[in-house]
């Protein structure tokens, strides 16, 4: 059932995955608090973990060409159980969208416009994402190439500007924390920013037949991991032990740049890029929700549902968390496991079910 009429190229998918990750990566406090000055290594171990997840998604997508996640669920588990799984996935995407929207709303309100009520900022944000989804997600994904270049340049420029504030000694002592912290760090990085590539299983059908969606997603993840490593390394080398103290280490380290008295206040560049990346991310998550909802109730087109889904995300994000501290607590403790349930457990169940079905069919013939 093709609800989406657009199509995208493989390269756009790579950059879309990168842009999707980059937003969360610029808010890297969730990982620096755990592994402190070894956080840069978590970027790479997390990449390995997330490549495992991508392998599962790629296997599922390969067996069911041109079907998205929700359709795969129904085909594998049958209409009833499949719909149950779909409801669970839908809840996951909705929660992710609400959490991310609340996140960026908090950022704007907290750092720049303290008196504005959160609802006003989130309303504008959600309106943009709804508009993007209504006009066809293919457009936003095609835009990701340009967006990727902008984001990469911003990170690289900021890094170069901060080179003279770096104190190489901060990276030591290397790997002295207990092993459990590294495991926690790896799982957090693999589940939180990188595992959310699950949302792209909803977009993968747009690639067309016989295109390797899994490979594109993997490339995007590798690119994202490299940049995450760069950002983490830069923040650790500039801020030292303070990197684990700040809520937004990247923001504070960018603020520190003061070159020749002229190149100061670069954090505005950082803030703009962050907001654009979050628009991208929430648009894709919103698309996943809308498409999922449409499939759940067997609508022929998802268009009428965009506004109402957007409204749902809007209201959900208003009460999803009461304070930044609760959000940080959630991110540090339960979020990786919650995400892993949907990113690892459920797709693996689907894959296992498919394999069992296949072997049963082989035995019957």
């Amino acid at each position: 059932m093709k609800l989406e009429k657009g199509s995208i190229s493989g390269r756009a998918l790579i950059f879309a995955v990168f842009c999707f990750m980059q937003g969360t990566m610029l808010r890297s406090a969730f990982i620096v608090v755990v592994t402190k000055n070894d956080s840069w290594a978590m970027a790479f171990t997390g990449l390995l973990g997330s490549l495992l997840l991508t392998a599962i998604y790629a296997a599922l997508l390969r067996r069911f060409q041109e079907k998205n996640l929700f359709e795969i669920n129904e085909l594998v588990f049958g209409p009833v159980v499949g719909k149950v799984f779909s409801v669970l996935y839908l809840f996951f995407f909705l929660s992710l969208a609400a959490l991310n929207t609340h996140d960026i709303g908090d950022f704007v309100v907290g750092y720049m416009m303290q008196e504005t009520p959160l609802a006003a900022i989130i309303l504008l944000f959600v309106l943009i994402c709804v508009y993007a989804v209504r006009k066809g997600i293919a457009n936003i994904v095609r835009l990701s190439t340009v967006l990727c270049i902008i984001a990469m340049s911003a990170v690289l420029i900021n890094t170069v500007l901060m080179l003279n504030e770096i104190q190489p000694g901060f990276i030591k002592p290397l790997f002295q924390l207990p092993l459990g912290k590294y495991v926690q760090g790896t799982i957090t990085v693999a589940a939180l920013p990188m595992g959310e590539v699950l949302a792209f299983t909803m977009i993968a059908p747009m690639l067309g037949k016989n295109k390797k969606a899994g490979k594109m997603m993997a490339y995007g993840l590798v690119l994202a991991a490299v940049f995450l490593g760069i950002v983490l390394l830069r923040d650790i080398l500039v801020l030292g032990p303070m990197a684990g103290v700040f809520r937004l280490p990247s923001y504070e380290s960018v603020r520190y740049v003061k070159l020749a008295g002229i190149l100061t206040r670069m954090e505005s560049l950082y803030a703009v890029v962050l907001i654009i990346l979050y628009v991208f991310k929430v648009s894709i998550l919103l698309y996943a929700c809308v498409l999922g909802l449409a499939q759940l109730v067997n609508f022929k087109s998802y268009q009428p549902l965009t506004l109402i889904c957007g409204a749902l995300v809007f209201f959900y994000s208003l009460f999803v968390y009461k304070s930044v501290m609760e959000h940080a607590d959630w991110g540090a403790t339960v979020a990786p496991i919650f995400s892993l349930t949907f990113e690892l457990v459920l797709p693996s169940a689907a894959l296992v079910a498919v394999s069992i079905k296949k072997t049963i069919r082989l035995r019957e013939t």
Binding site: K172, P173, P241, R255
Partner: protein, 411 residues
């Protein structure tokens, strides 16, 4: 990225292709644009320039009652900033800044209390320096620093200073070169690289040093002096902190010793007393490194390496200092000089029991497991810590001259 061409093929009438030409759509689009422009003005959290008091410098003193703090802020009066320095004759012209103070129980309540006094809201993003008076520093400045680190508006690259007397007086410095003392002091701090006798400390540096648990944070000291009836400020010496309280001072030579050892010295002028007279040398580059070395019995020694490269700036001896033996003699004397400065700092730091160099951090980074064992007794360990110094000085040139100009030298 709408492709209108695909939606309105040629030959069809308006009713049959509802595209962008539809008047309802146009009205909606216009309304959206208007809404977006409205939101750009960000009425809700608007901050107009004339309602802001742009703070350039903040000074914290003790208040009259005990337990109270007096916070003085230097605010720009934008209308009074003139393009050139004001001549001394026009004493009737207003100053380009205003110092406003408020007293309350803590820094934050004093800052909030400003709203009772001024019509403008304090805007801290341009705050360049933060001065604490010696009495406040001796009581402990950590709680006050927390407010500045936590706030969104304040930046981490604000310079930290300790004043020997009253901090608020520093903000009243009368200088001809700049219009605002805050800018003058901030830029003076940035120019300290050329003498390497001052530790340039930002809030971030102080916080990092404090977080380490073994390093004693330092901050430069500033004092007022009078000359020709005008009050000016001078940077002299460094304050040493332990657990947030100021416990001692380093004088100028000891500060430079600290700079040599931690590799933060850049340019410096050294005067050598040779038996024939004085020679001044200008050190252009200096590099320093410290490496902990573990002896067989488990104790640590620190190997300090200092490399300095310089030129002869002035030769008052009358002898030809550019000859090879004299250059080598000078190099040795400079090495001795630097060694003496560092050792003086070391001795003083050991008396204060304050690890200003960061030796503890160096041990923690290279030998984390051993550090766990000795970090509880770091104070006593530090007093007994031995250092090996390797100082290498290279005199690269003697300026434009070779032989000096002396009476009868040409004959």
């Amino acid at each position: 990225m709408k492709k209108n061409a695909s939606k309105a093929p040629a030959g069809k009438t308006k009713q049959e292709c509802p595209g962008a030409l539809n008047p309802v759509r146009r009205a909606v689009a216009a309304l959206l644009c208007a809404l977006m422009i409205l939101s750009l003005s960000s009425c809700w959290s608007r901050r107009e320039l004339n309602t802001l008091a742009i703070v350039l410098a903040t000074a914290v003193d003790e208040g009259k009652e005990s337990g109270e703090l007096k916070v003085t802020t230097q605010i720009v009066s934008p209308g009074e900033i003139k393009s050139g320095p004001s001549s001394s004759g026009s004493s009737a012209s207003k100053k380009a800044y205003a110092n406003i103070d408020n007293t309350d129980k803590s820094v934050i309540s004093a800052l909030d209390g400003f709203t009772h006094i001024t019509n403008r809201k304090m805007y801290f993003s341009h705050n360049r320096i933060l001065i604490f008076s010696r009495e406040v520093a001796q009581k402990g400045i950590l709680e006050d620093l927390d407010a500045f680190t936590r706030n969104y508006e304040t930046r981490m690259n604000v310079y930290l200073l300790i004043s020997k007397d009253k901090a608020a007086d520093i903000l009243d410095e009368e200088i001809e070169l700049e219009q605002m003392p805050a800018n003058h002091i901030a830029e003076m701090l940035e120019a300290q690289h050329s003498n390497s006798e001052t530790a340039i400390i930002t809030l971030l540096d102080f916080d990092i040093a404090f977080l380490s648990g073994s390093t004693a944070p330092v901050a430069p000291m500033i004092e007022m002096y009078e000359i020709d009836g005008k009050k000016k400020a001078r940077l002299e010496g460094t304050a040493v902190f332990k657990q947030g309280k100021m416990i001692g001072e380093l004088n100028v030579a000891q500060t430079r010793g600290l700079m040599w050892a931690t590799g933060k010295a850049e340019r410096a002028t050294i005067t050598i007393d040779t038996k024939d007279g004085k020679v001044d040398l200008l050190i252009i580059h200096a590099k320093g490194s410290m490496k902990p070395v573990k002896a067989e019995d488990g104790t640590f020694r620190i190997r300090l390496k200092v490399y300095a490269e310089g030129d002869i700036e002035s030769n008052e001896t009358g002898k030809d200092m550019s000859s090879v033996e004299n250059t080598e003699m000078l190099q040795e004397q400079v090495e001795e000089f630097i060694r003496a400065e560092i050792e003086s700092t070391l001795k003083h730091a050991k008396t204060l029991s304050a690890d200003v160099f960061g030796f503890g951090e160096a041990i923690r980074r290279d030998y984390p497991k051993d550090w766990e064992k000795i970090k509880e007794n770091w104070d006593s360990e530090f007093s007994g810590l031995k250092t090996d110094m390797e100082i290498d000085v290279k005199i690269a040139s003697s300026g434009e001259m070779g032989k000096p100009v002396v009476q009868g030298g040409a004959e």
